[in-house]
């Protein structure tokens, strides 16, 4: 079985270029980092660096409380 290229999984690299703050009210943006079931995708798939991934995680958890994302 052929090994798939790891970068196939990566999302749009332009999406997170230079992003340092994530607004928890921007549900459409946050949904790009979640599965349809509402799980947070890992950084290796989203292409986010560690700091961005932490910010995304925090924002998604805040958004969940307010019913903005699943």
């Amino acid at each position: 079985m052929a090994r798939r290229d790891r970068d196939d999984y990566k999302r749009d690299p332009e999406l997170l270029r230079g992003v340092t703050e994530v607004d928890y009210k921007d549900a459409e943006f946050l949904k790009k980092f979640m599965t349809d079931r509402g799980k947070i995708l890992p950084g290796r798939i989203t292409g986010a660096n560690a700091q961005q991934q932490r910010n995304i995680k925090k924002a998604i958890r805040r958004a969940r409380v307010m019913g903005l994302v699943r």
Partner: protein, 102 residues
């Protein structure tokens, strides 16, 4: 005095006038504790991503306010007792003032 950004959800059954009154009541509570409202942005009615307490939708209002840090807990408990806020969440508005100036 800290600046907070609060997201408030009010019951969807409220009409325009009812929402005005509800926001007014939040403002009153805030002023009783020595705080003040900077801005109140109505984000309209949104359907929840999942049912919250058997409710399907709510009216979202984003309120930026100033309040002493020690009084935030009191404010939260007052909200529960005296207003009809369905759900709320406060975040310290870091750099909010900087963003307005820029």
């Amino acid at each position: 005095m800290n600046t907070y950004e609060g997201l408030f959800i009010f019951p969807e059954a409220l009409d325009e006038e009812g929402l005005d009154q509800a926001i007014g009541r939040v403002k009153e509570e805030l002023e009783k504790l020595g705080g003040s409202i900077d801005s109140a942005v109505r984000m309209g009615k949104k359907t929840f991503a999942r049912a919250l307490k058997k409710q399907k939708a709510g009216l979202y209002v984003n309120i930026t306010f100033k309040l002493e840090g020690e009084k935030v807990d009191t404010f939260k408990s007052r909200l529960k007792l005296t207003t009809n806020v369905f759900r709320h969440q406060f975040v310290v508005a870091e750099g909010a003032e900087v963003a307005q100036e820029a």
